[in-house]
Amino acid sequence: MLRRLYPLKPYLARYRSRFVAGFVTLLIAQLTGVTIPLFIKAGIDGLTHRAALGRLLFFAGLMLGLAVVKAVFQFWMRWILIGISRDVEYDLRNDLFAHLCRLSQRYYTGTRTGDLMSKLTNDLNAVRNMVGPGIMYSATTVVVGVATIGLMVHLDWRLTLLALIPLPVASVLVKVFGQKIHDRFERIQAMYSELTERVRENLSGVRVIRAFCQEEPEMALFDRMNQEFVERNKGLIWISSFLWPVLAMMFALSFMLILVAGGRHVISGAISLGTFAAFNVYLMYLIWPIIALGWVVNLMQRGLASLERLWTIFLARPEIDDREVPAQPLTSLRGEIEFRDLDFAYNGKPVLKGINLSVPAGKTVAIVGATGSGKSTLVSLIPRLYDAPDGALLLDGVPIRRIPLETLRRNIGFVPQETFLFSETIRENVRFGAPDASEADVEQATDVSNILPEIHGFPKGFETLVGERGLTLSGGQKQRTAISRAVIRDPRILILDDALSSVDTGTEEKILQHLTGVMAGRTTLLISHRVSTVQNADEIVVLDHGEIVERGTHEELLTLDGYYSELYNRQLIEEELEKEA
């Protein structure tokens, strides 16, 4: 158990002194608490012996005093011990996020976001439960249990023995039934997911269902699952409505034993009526620890299992880092890119073969080719989203892995093929990679991508929220925002991965014109399916199945009568078609 808790050690050690304080308050609170019934005993005995009212007032006052002490320390106990668990949770969540930020794309393509989310929520929560309530209630159970039973034994050990008979049964019941409840609950949850998934499927496939008149069969199927769900719930209902009444009955039976045996002891004079009354109160004190005992065991088991799952995230190592960066690294880049005999395979499948391409600083190179020809992979190697083989990719003549990641990426403006904007304002999205950019910078960057007039047209302008809870931008607007986001960083290298596909040709022309202005002297890589986007590039390369098959300027490629000239002809036809009213 301790060995399995080992990963948590640094997180717990950080709060060592608070743990100590928490346990001290716990000890004081619970030990004070268990003395209170002694004064109930004294009070009742006082009643039977017709003690003076002053004496009773003294007992009552003392009880209240002790109750105040207990209340104060009990408050601190919870505040400290449960508080620590929230701190540990906070630390863990921060560290997990920071770690996830360092993991490479390869990790993300191999991991489902849903699985990660489940670990970051459910498993983290189970670990928190173990660290907080788990620890506090185990300690409370031990202290209260030992002290109460000790005092009860002190009062009358035979009665104690008798009264305690039904209680271990209660602990075992909680443990066993708690586990059963958990298992059945999981089964219900599984069915619930299945039901949810079926509804989702049904609603997503609504066209097929309507077209094939499948409404009735779908309802019948849903009905079966709905019934199964109810069936599984019955399994839980049975136990859960049984557990609490049966526990209540166990405790009631304990009281009954005291009623009988305690009564006889009082009559025989072995104990006083006060002791008899105190016994009843002590028994009540034991109820919670007895229940908690079974509960805590389950809490711990689940917490440990979750801890293991959670730790798989930390065990994944970042693949792309600065380990090959020399002591005196480059701090700025000119923007010269060179691919040298580059081969690249992904999951054992060759994607790029024998790429030789050099882009002098300040030049523009365009890449065209069919879907799946490796264009995006090629440019994703430059910001090291994936790592090129050793020495096959050089920036400013330096192997790319010897350049600090931070420096490298800071000098690149990347516009990915699939535009991903965050649910923030347009301003925040544009400034995403340049947090210190001024208002003028933002205006200029949005002007470059020709989206500024539209932003001014939005009621909230730059403050417009993007995404589901705000404005849904069109594909073209998103792409243009993403271009602004890249341009505002004033990068040495600008990479546009098919970033104008949703923009109409007129706007495209304007954007390209602006770009030539701001990107003068910067290196630009353009991927596109459109001739209009690439025709002015210094060099155009055509990729086919991971190999460069054509290269040259627009004019040179047109003479080749290959892929590029075909692309050109199509564009002409498309323009004509567009003109048809």
Binding site: L47, T48, L53, L56, A60, L64, V68, V72, Q74, F75, R78, R86, F97, A98, L100, L103, Q105, T113, L116, M117, L120, T121, Y192, R198, V199, E201, N202, L203, V206, R207, V208, A211, F212, C213, Q214, E215, P217, M219, N226, V230, I237, S241, F242, P245, V246, A248, M249, L253, M256, L259, I267, L273, N280, M284, R409, F432, P435, R469, I573, L577
Partner: protein, 647 residues
């Protein structure tokens, strides 16, 4: 997502009589059980007051050395004068039965009410799901699937609490409280009133606590939603985050939300931390009052020791019912919010419905075999494309007459569309993206109703046919083949019971997918997981062909996939398609050269209107839009198509 979260978070009042009446109506079918549960909980409440009273009886009758206690005469008569025997009587004749009956009442009540809760949930889910099966497609266009799923699942689940632990338990807590108060007043009203001095404090503390906890829970829920939304978004956009050197800043942002979450939780710890000790303190206060005041009264002989001991026990039993009652507030509040959302969905009117008076269309395909042509695959001569040879008596099977439609009611996506499909014809619709091709098929199936003009089937306005009668005539292949989780066979057959195993198999064979299916370890029973992620695009296409074929439709509607596949799959799909449309009236949104070449009629759509109609050759000669489309979309396929065709 955060917006959704916010919408789902809205909590209104805890009680709305209109909603409550409508909710309680769902209990009506189970009123007998509910009544029984109410009786049980009433008795349970009364029995809760019994054990401390028995304690008093035992103490006053047998244990109190001062012996001045009095007990009711009927008990005095029943109990033995011998203390040892009397104690046994109290324990086994009175206490034990009480305990056992309490157990059965509590168990029975809880079990039956939870069961009723489940049944009500079942009914509700069924009703919502059925309603969703009838709602028109335009509703689906405007409501994200996720939100509709929530109505059937999460929202219904919230109501579960109301039925299983809300409605009846409120009475339980109330009865318990009342019977304890009553018996205490009966035993000694002066001491009782003194003890009740803590009651207002308990109520106040509990109310303060509820308020505090509710507030911090609201903040916790919002913080959790924000953490999840942030994680979901940033894990998905991790590449962008890394490309733009945002690691540090995003960490700081995340840390802020994480801190909010922790802060909200610490507030709730504070609330709990103050509440539990306060309640315990009030409990001890009650005991102190009883000892001191009871002591004074007992000196005057007005209170017995037994009463004092029983009072101590009663005073500890106030707390739970009061706390539980305050819990119910939250349950009610969430239930009201959830039911409001559910009823809103249920009240959404179904716009595309069966007509009040429908014309019957007889199309019993059960009698037909899948391979309907009796002549074993020889095609009857196709109608001439211009339709001139059609006899005046012959009805077109499908006709669009000046049809116009706008999804938003305003911007027409198609306008003034008129064309016919005669029995046996293969009509291909071509056009650039956004020309309105798919809309045609949606209108034909009455996913939407035309705003202008008419769509006729067998010469009858589609709106005058029952939806089932209309749709049963069509077999549809969507551009993105949609597979359900289930088996291969269940994806071909769907829920259509009259399709036999042989027909499933035959359909698969006809569209060239049988070999593939048989190569699977489970054959037709092989499980299709996650909507067919393990299958290739081509395989999914062929399976959806088989699905359409197995349903043996009079008219086949096919939206060809645009995605490129390898030549071998391409050939298989083309062959499958050829066999699929053989001898069958079909409307195809075409992306394949082979399809348009074999079509009896090609309809060229451009910007929502029909621009050209004719055969492949005729249209090419016109050198119009079709000619350009041909060069853009189909010309490339010529060479590989010839090669593959020759092989």
């Amino acid at each position: 997502m955060p917006d959704n979260v916010r919408e789902e978070e809205i909590l209104g009042k805890a009680y709305d009589s209109r909603l409550m009446r409508r909710l309680l109506a769902y209990l009506r079918p189970y009123w007998r059980v509910v009544t029984l549960a109410l009786v049980a909980i009433f008795l349970y409440g009364i029995l809760q007051a019994v054990p401390p009273y028995l304690m008093k009886v035992e103490v006053d009758r047998y244990l109190d050395p001062t012996r001045h206690g009095q007990i009711p005469r009927y008990l005095a008569r029943f109990l033995s004068p011998n203390p040892a025997a009397g104690i046994f009587q109290i324990a086994f004749a009175l206490f034990l039965p009480t305990v056992l009956v309490t157990f059965f009442l509590e168990f029975g009540q809880s079990f039956t009410m939870q069961l009723v809760g489940q049944k009500v949930m079942y009914d509700l889910r069924k009703e919502i799901f059925a309603h969703l099966q009838r709602l028109q497609l335009s509703f689906y266009d405007h409501n994200p699937v996720g939100r509709m799923v929530t109505r059937v699942t999460t929202d219904v689940d919230v109501l579960n609490d109301l039925f299983s632990s809300g409605v009846v338990a409120i009475f339980g807590d109330f009865f318990t409280l009342v019977s304890i108060i009553a018996i205490m007043l009966e035993m000694n009203w002066k001491l009782a009133l003194l003890t009740f001095a803590v009651l207002p404090l308990i109520v106040m503390t509990t109310m303060w606590f509820r308020q505090a906890v509710r507030d911090s829970y609201r903040r916790i829920r919002i913080a959790i939603a924000r953490i999840n939304a942030y994680l979901q978004e940033h894990l998905t956009g991790m590449a962008v985050l890394q490309l733009f050197n945002r690691e540090e800043r995003s960490y700081q942002e995340f840390e802020k939300i994480n801190r909010l979450h922790m802060g909200a939780y610490k507030d709730s710890i504070l609330a709990y931390g103050l509440f539990y000790p306060a309640v315990e303190f009030l409990g001890v206060t009650a005991v102190a009052i009883i000892i001191y005041a009871g002591g004074g009264m007992s000196l005057r002989g007005t209170v017995t020791v037994g009463t004092a001991i029983a009072f101590i026990q009663y005073s500890q039993r106030f707390f739970r019912p009061i706390q539980d009652l305050s819990d119910k507030y939250n349950i009610l509040q969430s239930a009201m919010a959830a039911s409001e959302r559910i009823f809103k969905l249920l009240d959404t009117p179904v716009e595309i419905t069966d007509p009040a008076e429908s014309l019957a269309v007889v199309s019993d395909r059960r009698t037909a075999t899948v391979m309907s042509p009796a002549d074993g695959g020889h095609r009857p001569p196709l109608q001439s494309p211009d339709g001139d040879q059609r006899s005046p008596l012959q009805q077109p099977l499908v006709e669009f007459r000046n049809a116009g439609f706008a999804y938003d009611g305003e911007h027409r996506v198609i306008e003034d569309i008129s064309f016919t499909i005669d029995p046996g014809e293969t009509v291909a619709v071509v056009g650039h993206t956004g020309a309105g091709k798919t809309t045609l098929t949606s209108l034909l199936l009455r996913f939407y109703d035309v705003q202008d003009g008419q769509v006729l089937f067998d010469g009858v306005d589609a709106r005058r046919l029952r939806l089932q009668d209309l749709r049963r005539n069509f077999g549809m292949v969507l551009q993105d083949p949609f597979l359900f989780s289930g088996t291969i066979a269940s994806n071909i057959r769907l829920g259509t019971e009259w399709i036999t195993d042989t027909q499933v198999r035959e359909a698969a064979r006809r569209v060239n997918v049988l070999d593939f299916v048989q190569s699977l370890p489970g054959g037709f029973d092989e499980l299709v997981k996650e909507r067919g992620v393990t299958l290739s695009v081509g395989q999914k296409q062929l399976l959806s062909f088989a699905r359409a074929l197995a349903h043996n439709p009079r008219v086949l509607i096919l939206d060809e996939a645009t995605s490129s596949v390898d030549p071998e799959t391409e050939y298989m799909i083309r062959e499958g398609l050829r066999r699929l449309i053989e001898n069958r009236t079909s409307l195809i949104i075409a992306h394949r050269l082979s399809t348009i070449q074999n079509a009896s009629k090609i309809i060229v759509m451009h910007k929502g209107r029909i621009r050209e109609v004719g055969t492949h050759q005729e249209l090419l000669q016109q050198r119009g839009i079709y000619f350009k489309l041909y060069q853009l979309q189909y010309k490339d396929q010529e060479m590989p198509a010839l090669e593959a065709g020759a092989s």
